[in-house]
C-alpha cells in the first residue's frame, strides 16, 4: 500500500480547519472561537471515554485548546488539523493519566467522577456473578457495561479504539496522532477488539449480564 505524504499546501487546500488555524496564527480571534465550537464535542467525547471522568475531560479539553493557542505562532500545517489537535490531546491525557496513577500509588484517594466512574474488572466480574438474577440489560446498563469494558482496556488500546470509533481515523492518522508505526496501530486495535470481545462475550452470546466474567485482557501493547 503506497502512501503519498501530502504536502503542507495540500492540507491548507483540503482541510478547512487548517485554514482556520492559519487565521488563528495570523491573530484572528474569531477563527479560534470557531475551532473551539467545531471540536469541543469531539474532543470531550474522546477525552471523557479516555479518562472516565467528565469534569477532568473538560479540564483537559480546555488545556488542549490553550495549548493550541499557545502553539499558534509556530503552527505549520504538516497534518490534518484534527490529527494535530488529537496529538496534543493524546499527550495531555497521557500525562494526566500518568500523574493520576502516581497519585493512586502514593495513596491519594481518587476523586469520584460523578456518574462516569468506570467499573473495574473485579467489579464487572462481581456484577456478573451468578448471584445476580438473570435478566435482560436495559439500555443504560448496556451502555455502562460497554463503558466499563472500554475502561478496562489499556490506555493506548483505549485511545486507538476511541480515535477509530469516534473520529473515524485511519490507521495512518492514528499512528501519527499516537506517534506509533502503522503496524503497531494495527496490533493495538486488534488486541483492543479481542479484549473487548472477551469482556463482553457473555453479553454478546446471551444478551444478558455475563454470568461468568472470566476476563483476561491482553494488555501486551
Amino acid at each position: 500500500m503506497a502512501l503519498t505524504q501530502p504536502q503542507p499546501l495540500q492540507y491548507e487546500l483540503h482541510d478547512p480547519d487548517v485554514r482556520l488555524m492559519l487565521q488563528v496564527r495570523d491573530g484572528d480571534a474569531a477563527a479560534f472561537t470557531e475551532l473551539v465550537l467545531r471540536y469541543q464535542n469531539r474532543l470531550l467525547t474522546v477525552l471523557e471515554h479516555l479518562v472516565g471522568n467528565r469534569e477532568q475531560a473538560e479540564d483537559l479539553a480546555q488545556e488542549v485548546f490553550v495549548r493550541v493557542f499557545k502553539a499558534r505562532l509556530r503552527y505549520e500545517p504538516e497534518a490534518k488539523f484534527s490529527t494535530w489537535l488529537f496529538t496534543i490531546a493524546n499527550n495531555i491525557a497521557s500525562n494526566a493519566l500518568r500523574s493520576r496513577s502516581r497519585r493512586r500509588e502514593v495513596g491519594v484517594p481518587e476523586g469520584n467522577g460523578a456518574d462516569s466512574t468506570p467499573l473495574s474488572l473485579d467489579q464487572l466480574a462481581k456484577a456478573a456473578s451468578g448471584a445476580m438474577p438473570t435478566r435482560a440489560l436495559d439500555k443504560a446498563e448496556q451502555a455502562e457495561m460497554v463503558r466499563s469494558a472500554v475502561a478496562a482496556l489499556s490506555e493506548r488500546q483505549r485511545m486507538a479504539l476511541l480515535l477509530a470509533k469516534f473520529e473515524g481515523m485511519s490507521y495512518q492518522d492514528i499512528a501519527q496522532t499516537m506517534d506509533l508505526s502503522v503496524q503497531a496501530v494495527k496490533s493495538l486495535l486488534s488486541r483492543a477488539r479481542v479484549n473487548l470481545k472477551e469482556i463482553l462475550t457473555p453479553y454478546i452470546e446471551r444478551g444478558i449480564r455475563p454470568e461468568d466474567a472470566e476476563v483476561s485482557t491482553r494488555t501486551d501493547d
Binding site: L44, F69, K139, Y171, L200
Partner: protein
C-alpha cells in the same frame, strides 16, 4: 512462522480480520479474506464476534459540551493572551532599557577610550618636545654644522657645559 505458535497465529488472524473490518487492507488481501470467509465457518464466526463487540461501542454516548464550555475556554485563552501580551511588553521594555544602557555604556566607553588615547598622544608629543627643546632652541646653529663627530668632539672638551648650566 506462525505455524508453530497457535497464539501468534490467532493474533495474526485477528489483526487481519480487524484490518479487514476497518477497511485497511489492499484489494488483493481483501479478496483473499473474502474467499476465506466463504470457505471457513470458524473464520466467519471470529469475524462476527469481533464485529459484534465493535458494534456494541455504539452504546457509548458522545459528549455534548454545555453552553458555557466554549465561552469559558475562549475566556481562559483570552486571559492567557493578555498575560502573554503583558509579559511581551515587559520583555520589550526590559530589552529597550537594556539596549539604552548598553548604548550609553558604549558611548561612555568610547569617550573614555578617545580621551585616554588623545591624552596619551598629547602627553607623548609634549614629552618629545621637552626632550628635544635644547636641540630645537639651537636648531639654526646646528644646521650650520654638517659633521656630527665635530659636535661630539666639542662635547668631550666640555665646551657647552657652562652655557647649559647658565640656562638651568
Amino acid at each position: 512462522m506462525t505455524d508453530n505458535n497457535p497464539l501468534a497465529e490467532t493474533t495474526s488472524i485477528d489483526e487481519e480480520i480487524v484490518a479487514y473490518l476497518d477497511g485497511e487492507l489492499d484489494s488483493e488481501t481483501e479478496a483473499r479474506i473474502v474467499r476465506k470467509l466463504s470457505d471457513d465457518p470458524a473464520y466467519r464466526a471470529r469475524l462476527s464476534q469481533l464485529q459484534h463487540a465493535w458494534d456494541l461501542l455504539d452504546n457509548l454516548r458522545g459528549t455534548e459540551a454545555d453552553d458555557e464550555f466554549a465561552a469559558s475556554t475562549v475566556a481562559m485563552v483570552a486571559v492567557h493572551a493578555e498575560q502573554e501580551s503583558k509579559s511581551r511588553q515587559v520583555r520589550v521594555v526590559r530589552q529597550r532599557s537594556l539596549t539604552g544602557v548598553a548604548v550609553a555604556a558604549a558611548v561612555l566607553l568610547s569617550v573614555a577610550a578617545g580621551y585616554y588615547v588623545l591624552h596619551r598622544r598629547v602627553t607623548r608629543d609634549d614629552r618629545n618636545l621637552v626632550r628635544d627643546l635644547p636641540v630645537i632652541e639651537r636648531v639654526d646653529e646646528y644646521r650650520n654644522i654638517d659633521d656630527l663627530s665635530f659636535l661630539k668632539a666639542l662635547e668631550r672638551e666640555n665646551l657647552f657645559a657652562p652655557e647649559v648650566d647658565d640656562e638651568t
